[in-house]
Symmetry: none
Subunit: 520 residues, 2 copies
């Protein structure tokens, strides 16, 4: 059976993504998660280029990994330095890892233009950098940067650089599509030549600039490389690196290559979300395998078929990657969808209940008005409970007023909300400001209600979305507001629709609060 080892570079190449900036603490947390996932190698950083990474490798000396090997990454020596005195090489030697990955130049353009040295000198640099680290007892992987562009431009020279690396003792030579412009058939052609002319243990490192990173990596595996490099969620400079969250299930489930254990693959979705969370980036809902929409069914035909037999519209079982099937609530939904939702919400609802038709009618009517419950299951649950008489009113609105003022000579626009609510015969009248009208109203409402319901102080608004529904009516259009709230334990979405954005926001705010109070 073909053996393929997984090499993660989320913490190094992934950190070069425009929006990603990991602290040392972030990196320590991620490396341990990746270890649990069972990836063979984890590139931790570039100690010679980044002081933060030196601290990281220091910290890592105290943290044992269960299944992964930590790798330090860096460049071959600078042309003006003796290898034993090159600060980058020294930092690599001292990083405390068994394995070091060195990258060097394979493309003559980079050697002469970017480095400004002769082609011969570059070969020497590759050789003695590797030899030195080998002499320090390191296992060395060699990243042939821009190999495919270099091979296109000057194949003989590109191959010579690999030969130099191999002769100097590199254990694995990784061919890099650094600019991400290589097509699978070009990659295949070059790789087959390398196998023939250089041989030995080869790896692949691809970028996604042509949306080919994963396909290129798999093509290389098909041809026989034994190491695949990539990042979680495809993080990386420009368009990112090969996405391990797609590569791992493709390798295991499609190519039947046993790179990580079944139980580890089941944690893929969790780790993918964890990494996004630490990077403080929204998780891409449409991401293959691990995205929230990856197994979500909306079209009526699809929902109907998938409920009869999931295989009809699912290429793999979602549980294999720790994901789940989601049937989206929409007017295509039938009674069986509703029953399933009721079960999820722990609501008793018999399949012959007359309420079922009533709820379905209400759902259709609401969607016709512009409501959308796909991102607002909180509002949907409330709607269901109202229909079943399981809802309770927690407060009565006496009235609110929102005022927005702008005055000559002031850059600021002033926002104030006043509100009067009644709870159990007691009236609370209060006011608050905010940096927008909805923000002011939200502040005032919470201020009034927290007095009666202290649990509300845990609730935070996490996201607020506005969508104008009908164009071509100018500012008279209907708007839909989606709010996501959370209390630290769980998140819930609520929705409001109106021609008036304040009214729409009010509906969603009220649902958010009622949801919390009903479920605590």
């Amino acid at each position: 059976m073909q053996i393929v080892e997984i090499y993660d570079t989320t913490l190094r190449d992934g950190a070069q993504s425009e929006d990603v900036s990991f602290s040392v603490e972030d990196k320590l947390r991620i490396v341990q998660k990746l270890d649990e996932l069972g990836l063979h190698y984890i590139e931790g950083g570039w100690p010679g280029a980044n002081p933060k990474d030196i601290t990281f490798f220091e910290e890592m000396k105290k943290i044992p990994l269960k299944s992964s090997k930590l790798v330090a990454f860096g460049a071959t020596r600078k042309s003006r330095n003796k290898v034993s005195e090159d600060p980058n090489i020294k930092a690599l030697a001292e990083a405390g890892t068994e394995v070091v990955t060195l990258f060097g130049k394979s493309w003559d353009l980079h050697v002469t233009e970017a480095l400004g040295i002769t082609l011969k000198k570059n070969l020497e640099i590759i050789s003695d950098s590797i030899e030195y680290l080998r002499s320090q007892g390191k296992r060395v992987f060699y990243d042939a940067e821009h190999f495919f562009s270099g091979y296109l431009a000057k194949p003989d020279y590109a191959l010579k650089t690999l030969e130099a690396a191999k002769r100097a003792g590199a254990e694995c030579i990784i061919l890099c599509d650094t600019n991400g412009g290589t097509m699978p058939w070009q990659l295949r052609e070059a790789l087959e030549v390398v196998q023939r002319e250089i041989g030995g243990s080869l790896g692949i490192h691809t970028h996604n600039d042509s949306e080919m990173a994963v396909a290129n990596a798999l093509t290389a595996v098909e041809i026989g490389v034994t190491q695949v490099q990539g990042t979680m969620n495809g993080f990386g400079e420009r368009c990112g690196n090969a996405n391990l969250c797609s590569l791992l299930p493709n390798l295991k489930l499609k190519m039947k290559i046993n790179c990580i254990a079944d139980d580890q693959l089941k944690r893929l979705r969790e780790v993918s979300h964890f990494v996004s969370e630490i990077a403080n980036l929204p998780h891409n809902k449409h991401q293959p395998y691990v995205g929230d929409a990856a197994f979500a069914h909306k079209g009526g035909i699809h929902v109907h078929a998938v409920r009869k037999n999931a295989e009809t519209y699912e290429h793999v079982a979602p549980s294999k990657v720790g994901n789940r099937q989601r049937v989206l609530i929409s007017d295509n939904a039938g009674k069986s969808n509703l029953l399933e939702k009721a079960k999820e919400f722990r609501i008793n609802l018999a399949s012959d209940s007359p309420h079922l038709t009533e709820i379905l009618e209400q759902l259709k009517e609401r969607e016709h008005q512009g409501y959308q419950f796909e991102g607002a299951e909180g509002s949907f649950e409330l709607m269901m409970k109202k229909a079943l008489g399981k809802h309770k009113k927690f407060f009565n609105l006496v009235g609110f007023r929102v005022i927005v003022e702008k005055r000559k000579g002031s850059e600021e626009t002033f926002c104030e909300a006043t509100i009067m609510v009644e709870v159990g015969g007691q009236v609370e009248h209060t006011a608050a400001t905010g940096n927008g009208p909805v923000n002011a109203l939200d502040h005032a409402l919470r201020k009034a209600l927290e007095k009666f319901y202290p649990a509300l102080s845990q609730v935070k608004l996490l996201d607020y979305k506005v969508r104008v529904l009908t164009a071509s009516d100018g500012t008279g259009s209907k708007v839909r507001v989606l709010i996501e709230s959370g209390d630290g334990e769980k998140n819930w979405g609520t929705v409001g629709v109106s021609e008036n954005i304040i009214e729409a926001s009010w509906q969603a705010l009220v649902d958010s609060i009622e949801y919390k109070l009903l479920n605590s």
Copy 2:
């Protein structure tokens, strides 16, 4: 030279994406943009399944397209219906398009499990549905749904369905990887058999569930298919469809297949952003070719090398897809863009003008704050004119106040705006109501200004869009408001950004009015 025709299904399959919901107005705007991009076929919708789509096809009868052909999509007839009486088939015949795409079942599992009919009956349905539409004078494309899964399960039967479609008169047979689980080598194997056994004109329709949609489509083109289906930005159910924004440049720049003109390819980035904007979805910054980060260089080494020679870290020239290199320092590409815009706006601006740098700086600063001028060229023109001292102030705001009130016992939320403006020493103080706060403010502002500038009575607000910019701050997030206005002769877009939606709307309203007054 190989001919490949592009078939866009953004408005049908793309609209099945979890977050996408196009209005008829949205679809009319998008179809015209896609036409400008020169795509051969545009699938407009499914008139048999969706009343909104019937309206869309009615409207399209009045709108001639320059280079694209509009296509109506639908299912083969229901098994219980005579083909001439099947409502879906009738809707297709009446949609007013020269071309119709019919989809049918190729996978025995779907025939017996989802449809619950015999395999033979399914062949009859495919045949007579196509024959009927042919008899109505339609050109028919046949989408073989789940072809690759069907071929794996029962190859003989899958091929028989294609044979039936071809014999019945389908002009092109499109092989669909509906579940998105097929690997390129599986696709190749099946496709080569189809070429040999069925032949004729073939197309490819892929989904991205294994992150293989684009790679699979290109593999099919390499083998010889002549039609490629996909969506803008890869919109589509679950993980989306093959992304035309990657496919088009890969076909043209990598495979040298002349599917659209060079000038059309240069508009790719613009159209990609336009479609996201209309869908009210953030554009994916890391999207290949068209994303804002696709040619952005962060790593120090990269920036240095790329400035010496862009080829070192860019696989294609960004200008070919209308994108640009982003490095920290302003560059010449930016200036020449501005000069081109100035020409468009009939503004004299010399290429060595010091204003040029100033405008560029302002533009960057504004974009950093969240402004976006792609849908707001009106605001951009005003910004340029202000920098050049060619702008004139038409009125001064003394102040405005917007009040929103809700009272117990009333369903209605009341909105009123009061405003005081000064024009040439004369003060106008007025008030108006509206069905939302922005609507009320818009009414009041016009009412005040029309007295001085009667031309404003021609101006109508055509569209109003709100986008929340930074998530995770709840209702305290920044919002961007885009307004489209028209006076019957031309339309113009304006933009405003603020934490306060009223302030953001105000900026866009003021720009809209100033634009009209400056240009009349």
